[in-house]
């Protein structure tokens, strides 16, 4: 099986270790991974901040770039949700029938990482080893827009050595919210403080998620507070083995 990796702009720039982990994981599971260097950004930041015109161009670019891909893997639940939830309305507004057709054809071949591994590859035990106590933060877009359900838990439960610590108020937002985190920095921080209390109460060493944006927010606060906890993208846990442990910053 061939799969094209849409790494997303911020993973590419700020969290390359997540991208490397996705490649390692998928190749271990027998997937031929390709990367199209013309990719940039899905347009989520622009769409959600009201820059609709700019989001249109990026959406168009995305659809054209992946029109012939066998499968597109997105290791970010919010970017995957942007494409699945917001592109249809953008496409309709653009009124370009040809593009709309291309998008409808592409849509069923777009996967958030955990969807691809569990639903398409049919694998729940990816052969990973991560001997740590871990709690899972359900990013809102993964939880609600993508309805990932228990997929991430099924993957985590099969990781050798991993002790899964349940998180209270799992469905409550961490307060990141893209540009919300700076436009409403104080409220965003208040939400973050509440989330961190729950996260730290788990006594986990790592907080994981399927979205580095939430983790950048929570991990930034953990670092600020010298908390005895770090963040790590789920892909890095799944890629981790005894021979090649996760790269954790």
């Amino acid at each position: 099986m061939r799969a094209s990796l849409f790494i997303t702009c911020y993973n590419d720039t700020l969290f390359p270790e997540t991208g490397r982990a996705v490649v390692t994981l998928l190749e271990r599971l027998g997937v031929a991974v390709e990367f199209r260097p013309a990719q940039t950004c899905c347009g989520q930041m622009h769409a959600n901040t009201g820059f609709r015109g700019e989001a249109f161009s990026l959406a168009k670019k995305f659809v054209r770039l992946y029109a012939d891909a066998e499968a597109v893997i997105i290791p970010s639940s919010s970017c995957a949700a942007m494409i699945r939830d917001q592109y249809p309305a953008l496409m309709e507004e653009l009124g370009n029938e040809e593009l709309r057709g291309e998008f409808s054809a592409l849509l069923p071949r777009l996967y958030e990482l955990s969807e691809f591994v569990v639903d398409v590859l049919g694998v729940e035990d990816v052969g990973a080893y991560f001997p740590h106590r871990v709690t899972y933060h359900a990013s809102c877009h993964g939880l609600r827009a993508l309805a990932l359900g228990d997929r991430p838990f099924r993957l985590l439960k099969n990781v050798e050595g991993l002790e899964l610590a349940p998180l209270e108020n799992l469905d409550r937002c961490c307060g990141f919210g893209g540009t919300f985190s700076v436009k409403n920095a104080e409220v965003s921080s208040a939400m973050m403080t509440a989330k961190l209390q729950d996260v730290q109460a788990t006594g986990a060493e790592f907080c994981t998620a399927l979205d580095n944006s939430c983790l950048m927010h929570l991990g930034g606060a953990m670092h600020r507070e010298f908390a005895a906890m770090r963040t790590v993208h789920l892909a890095q846990i799944l890629a981790s083995t005894r021979e090649h442990p996760a790269e954790v910053m």
């Binding site: 720039t13 969290f15 940039t40 436009k183 409220v187 939400m191």
Partner: protein, 483 residues
């Protein structure tokens, strides 16, 4: 204490209005506790309803159908209500509605009026207007009494005094009712309110109410409440004025079957609310003998005209969205600067203001989607928030003062950068160099200047890595880097 301002024309932008609340530990504790209690009750009662999603779907269909046929249904309501002895008035805006109400009260020679269950009256700033014209308005909903006597403002649409706790209520009642020995026992507090209210119910012959539903088929009005004060207010006076937004109409009496089920469960976490009052026009010897309905537009037709935002008007004011909202949980209602707070307020208020005020509200959300998940009429609030953000951005981006606004500048530049992968690669390199200056020896950034400080005020930021993903990939593909 800073007095909350619930007039969108005067209120501070949301991020600024939220600041005093974030510093108010008592208020935040009250809001978190109250919303936890309501969301817990709601979740239990929704879980026991196996056809909940079908009910939501049905409620949504009723409301959507109404909005697509609003004109005919309103005309039908007017005709049937008039036939039953009511008088229907049409108010295009807040000023007209206020004048209509005042004219009715003058006709009644009323110097006092009792009120129940009407947010619409707060929307049109009715109480201060009546006071200016010599009519004293008394709220009779328990929560509204607490707020009126405490010179406070509502912070929630179903539980208006949600931000006030029991001991604070005791203090307000003790002070304003002259009861220094009052305890904070809930029974003692309700007894005090009862004594205070009973006199008004028996002496003030004119009342103003809101409406939960207007029934087109019968010309009837439905009001739901928990205390029975509404029932008093709706039955004892001689004259009743009902103020209702034009979107409140439902087609048939039997539609209440759906609407009342979803409303009670969503609003208070009850299978059925304690008091449901239904009346049609005037009945000789029973209830008010003069009955007026004021149908308020005040921006609603405008919203109706926007196909993508129209769903805002499906709202049945259950407040499930604000109870579930993680932003509301931190700020309570006052920060929204409107009688309609929370997620629904964030989309309704700016639209009622024709996008001329309250532009910060569509941005007062992390777009987490909790509101949409619980909405009993399936309003896709995140979608409307995003649409409204686009409208605000379209207004603002042409303004000269926005040219150097860091967020606008950044997003404009980002769109140029993202348009082309070559440019994106160059920007990544520049960003890495730029970030280096702020990065500590441990690879983390503790402080950024300018707009970046909005991030680093509470969060560190990991410095840019030595290699982007695409650089690693390119190296791997050319065999320079070990896979």
């Amino acid at each position: 204490m800073i007095l909350p301002v619930l007039d969108p024309k005067l209120a501070l932008p949301f991020p600024k209005a939220a600041l005093p609340v974030l510093r108010n530990a008592q208020l935040r504790k009250n809001v978190a506790h109250a919303t936890d209690v309501i969301t817990g009750k709601r979740a239990r009662l929704v879980a026991e309803k196996h056809d909940w999603q079908a009910l939501r779907e049905a409620a949504s269909a009723v409301r959507t159908h109404v909005l697509e046929n609003l004109g005919p249904y309103l005309e039908q309501f007017e005709e049937r209500c008039t036939a039953a002895g009511g008088v229907v008035h049409w108010a295009a805006d807040a000023a007209e509605a206020r004048e209509i109400v005042l004219a009715i009260l003058r006709e009644e020679q009323a110097s006092e009026v009792i009120k129940i269950k009407t947010m619409t009256s707060a929307e049109i700033q009715l109480n201060p207007f009546l006071a200016q014209h010599g009519v004293e308005a008394h709220e009779t909903d328990l929560a509204e009494i607490i707020l009126q006597l405490g010179h406070d403002e509502p912070s929630h649409i179903v539980v208006p005094a949600l931000h006030v706790n029991r001991s604070q209520v005791r203090e307000i009642f003790a002070r304003t009712m002259g009861l220094p020995d009052l305890s904070d026992d809930p029974q003692a507090l309700t007894a005090a309110a009862r004594n205070y209210l009973r006199k008004m119910f028996l002496t003030v012959p004119t009342a103003i109410s809101g409406a939960n539903f207007l029934i087109a088929e019968t010309g009837g009005v439905a009001v739901v409440e928990s205390e029975g004060n509404g029932r008093m207010c709706l039955t004892l006076p001689r004259t009743m004025v009902t103020l209702a937004g034009i979107e409140k109409v439902i087609p048939r009496y039997r539609d209440l079957e759906i609407m009342l089920q979803v409303l009670a469960r969503s609003a208070t976490g009850e299978r059925m609310n304690p008091y449901t009052s239904l009346w049609t026009g005037v009945t000789s010897g029973d209830g008010p003998q003069r009955f007026h309905v004021v149908l308020l537009d005040n921006g609603r037709s405008d919203i109706l005209g926007h196909e993508r935002e129209r769903q805002t008007l499906k709202c049945i004011r259950c407040a499930a969205c604000m109870n579930a909202c993680p932003v509301y949980r931190q700020t309570g209602g006052h920060a929204y600067g409107s009688v309609y707070p929370g997620p629904i307020g964030a989309i309704l208020t700016p639209q009622l203001m024709k996008m001329e005020y309250a532009q910060s509200l569509p941005f007062a959300s992390s777009l987490c989607g909790a509101c949409y998940e619980v909405c009993p009429v399936k309003i896709n609030i995140p979608e409307v928030l995003i649409n409204l953000r686009a409208k605000v951005t379209d207004q603002e981006r042409e303004e000269e003062r926005r040219f150097f606004d860091p967020l606008y500048l950044g997003l404009r530049m980002a769109s140029k950068v993202f348009a082309n992968a070559g440019r994106f690669r160059a920007a990544q390199r520049m960003m890495r160099i730029g970030m280096k200056a702020f990065t500590g020896k441990d690879g983390w950034i503790r402080s950024l200047p300018g707009y970046g400080a909005r991030w680093t005020m509470t969060r560190d930021l990991r410095g840019a890595p030595e290699q982007t993903f695409r650089e690693w990939w390119a190296g791997r593909a050319s065999g320079k880097v070990k896979a």
